[in-house]
Symmetry: C2
């Protein structure tokens, strides 16, 4: 089984561990929940603070603005997403295995942490110009990681992909959009969705059957 969720996270595993002090982390987790539920603009600082069990003013001890809170969430989430993708891209095995591993773990993350992922992937436009630019650069790296696997697979003759940049876009788009629909529909586990999507993507790139 894969555990109930009070806010989102299963049992022992603790993300956001890089955020200190404790009160700052509680505020950040509260903000993730609120942003995911209502969207950035519809969320008030009072709502975030009260979810964290604090007064509205407490937020400004740890963060300068509401936007900085979103930026911190977005930054940490994109770092994690990029780490997942490039770990798989630089892993062992042929292009097909690496692509399947990348999609599997990327999708699994988006499904298991769909609350976080929703904020990370769909609230970009609420960031200020400089913060947005920083995040967009990270996303280009994610794109490059996937494109590299596709290009290598094509060169090795493992894949049949007429349009590498376009297919890269489609693969990432497919994975990212999991955050939008997951758990609003059926009762698939993140692992099942990851498995399904890995298979679908291998078909998209025309991977040779082993």
């Amino acid at each position: 089984m894969h555990s109930a969720e009070e806010t989102e996270e299963p049992g022992g595993y603790q993300p956001w561990s890089e955020v200190t002090p404790d009160a700052a982390r509680r505020l950040l987790v509260a903000a993730v929940d609120a942003f995911a539920e209502r969207g950035y603009h519809a969320t008030t600082t009072r709502d975030i603070a009260s979810r964290a069990g604090m007064s509205p003013a407490a937020l400004y001890i740890h963060y300068r603005t509401k936007e900085e809170l979103l930026h911190r969430i977005s930054r940490i989430g994109h770092d994690k997403a990029l780490e997942i993708l490039s770990t798989a891209a630089d892993g062992p095995g042929g292009a097909a295995e690496r692509l399947a591993a990348a999609v599997r773990s990327f999708v699994r993350w988006h499904a298991a942490h769909h609350t976080t992922a929703r904020v990370v992937q769909y609230e970009l436009e609420a960031l200020g110009p400089e913060h947005r630019a920083e995040i967009v650069a990270l996303r280009r790296e994610s794109d490059a990681a996937v494109r590299r696997i596709l290009a290598e697979g094509v060169e090795a003759g493992d894949f049949d992909v007429p349009d590498v940049p376009g297919t890269t876009l489609a693969v990432l788009s497919l994975c990212i959009d999991v955050a939008r629909w997951f758990n609003t529909a059926g009762r698939r586990s993140p692992e099942e969705v990851g498995e399904l999507y890995a298979d679908l993507v291998l078909r998209m790139v025309g991977a040779r059957q082993k």
Copy 2:
């Protein structure tokens, strides 16, 4: 060539023609632009009115609330999307041809009208409960249309799809997400993206090569 866009629409073709009177339509078009650019919650009624060249109060002559404006947009957009899908699903030809036609036209619409599509697909949660329920029902019909094509293709032996509901979800997700990234990236035409995606989807369902 496919024409510059002042707000969004190419030359002669006029959507929103079902919206009358004229001032109501201008307000609605202004709202689509504003919602797509900044999101529903970040858009003010003053912004919508001034884009339509009117005073803030004019909005309330034609719509009771800001939410009603979003609902009208969402309703018209979903009607159109469903019409596109079910026309293709009920069209002539085998499952593969109908699936390709559905994806091609559905994606083309999302790309060409990505401004509208963005609002229609990504601002659902800003709707009130009853309005949201109405829209969700329409989306289930879209899902059913695609699922029907897949099921028929599998039965006829044209497709190889282990998980029909899951693959249906993935296909729709892939198409819808076009509205998010289109035109923020490269200079592909809606037709090119539609063609690419139709091919990718045929691969996803393991369609027999003709």
